[in-house]
């Protein structure tokens, strides 16, 4: 019982990692969708005055790869940019209160 559970836990990510990307290469539509999502998140972070430099460079890398027709790389970079932007938004939101923990008083 227990072992089969462990096995499943091990197999699931391997399947996800190994099989899914092999299914098909990313096309321009995938890139555009991924880029739009990343761009929106990045703009939100910038609006909160919590933009990260790494988000900006990942987004630029996505655009460069997309313009060059390398959609696999473009989608990967756009997803990275989106994840970074989301992390910076999380930081901005949590720091609204969390900064007080650091305060000297």
């Amino acid at each position: 019982m227990k072992w089969s559970f462990v096995l499943a836990m091990l197999l699931a990510p391997m399947l996800a990692l190994g099989l899914a990307p092999a299914a098909r290469a990313a096309n321009e539509a995938d890139y555009k969708a991924a880029y739009a999502a990343a761009d929106a998140a990045s703009k939100e972070a910038a609006g909160l005055r919590h933009q990260w430099t790494v988000t900006v460079s990942a987004l630029a890398a996505a655009k460069k790869a997309g313009d060059g027709g390398d959609f696999d790389r473009a989608v990967a970079a756009a997803r990275e940019a989106e994840a970074l932007a989301k992390a910076s938004i999380f930081q901005a939101t949590s720091e609204k209160e969390a900064w007080k923990a650091m305060e000297i008083r």
């Binding site: 910038a46 005055r49 919590h50 933009q51 990260w52 430099t53 790494v54 900006v56 970074l84 992390a87 910076s88 930081q91 901005a92 720091e95 969390a98 900064w99 007080k100 650091m102 305060e103 000297i104 008083r105």
Partner: protein, 287 residues
């Protein structure tokens, strides 16, 4: 199994107790009290470094490390900011095209007034820094403003700081809710983590002054602006307060704000106010 859940319950209980203990302080902090804040801020550093003379904090890393202090004292005999200082004096005394000078824009002809900046302008409702006031002076006299991060601005503030050396920082917070809000906003900016590194200003300059970050020794936040502007050997040149903020931000992988953004003005206001009473030591030299 039992032992583990007991442990879990125990730590949960401890966390709850800790929360219960800290929460009343959070509530109490909602009122803005700059006098109490400045006192607590200074006491924190005085207690953390009981062997550092109070007026020595403005010398940044040199107050924390005896070896660096010796090297600096030797360097101060022939300081690297001397060229900027001379250039600043020339610029300060040379009239604009309309015949006026910087002295016409400032109280006391601009001499010995560095300790009063930044100040809260009740007409504008915002903090005005020395760098901002200098550029406004230029624009009012029909001259193009200087870059906030380049040498000309640093030369001017170097000269103005030099004429104010030794004077205690004297920042006022007028009885105006907007001034208190600016102070509070500066404080928030100082303690807020940002960038991919998840660093706040306080992560380095409150938690770790005197410690190394790579090859550098971190300066204490207390009195850190009293030494501005600085000749930074790493930059092979002078740096303004604006440049310091912008560089600090990008080092934590945060996109810096535009120089003299409201947040930067407010954080300068906060940091200068809590350093009240400590002498102006600028222009400074840092590795």
């Amino acid at each position: 199994m039992k032992a583990r859940s007991a442990l879990l319950l125990g730590s949960l209980g401890a966390a709850l107790v800790a929360f219960a203990l800290t929460s009343p302080r959070v509530v109490a902090a909602d009122k803005v009290d700059p006098v109490a804040d400045a006192k607590a801020f200074q006491n924190f550093f005085f207690q953390k470094f009981p062997n550092v003379k109070h007026e020595d904090f403005v010398n940044g890393p040199y107050s924390m490390n005896a070896d660096m202090k010796r090297q600096w004292q030797e360097k101060e005999e022939f300081p690297p900011y001397e060229f900027a200082l001379d250039a600043g004096k020339d610029m300060f005394t040379t009239p604009f095209k309309n015949g006026k000078t910087y002295a016409d824009c400032f109280p006391n002809g601009g001499i010995g007034i560095r300790q009063n900046y930044p100040y809260f302008d009740t007409k504008e409702g915002k903090v005005v820094t020395l760098e901002l006031a200098l550029n406004r002076c230029r624009e009012a006299n029909g001259e193009a403003p200087y870059s906030y991060v380049k040498d000309e601005m640093a030369s001017l503030t170097a000269y103005m700081a030099f004429t104010s050396r030794g004077k205690p920082m004297d920042i006022k917070i007028p009885d105006d809710p907007r001034a208190l809000a600016a102070f509070e906003n500066g404080k928030r900016y100082f303690y807020t983590r940002r960038g991919q590194m998840n660093f706040s200003c306080a992560s380095c300059h409150v938690q770790s002054p005197g410690e190394r970050i790579r090859a550098e020794i971190l300066a204490p936040a207390l009195g850190i602006l009293n030494a501005m502007p600085i000749y930074r050997s790493e930059w092979s040149g002078m740096g303004t307060t604006s440049r310091r903020f912008v560089t600090c931000n990008s080092q934590t992988r945060a996109v810096p704000l535009e120089p003299q953004a409201d947040e930067y003005r407010d954080v300068e206001y906060f940091l200068s106010y809590v350093a009240n009473g400590l002498p102006i030591s600028g222009p400074g030299a840092r590795p």
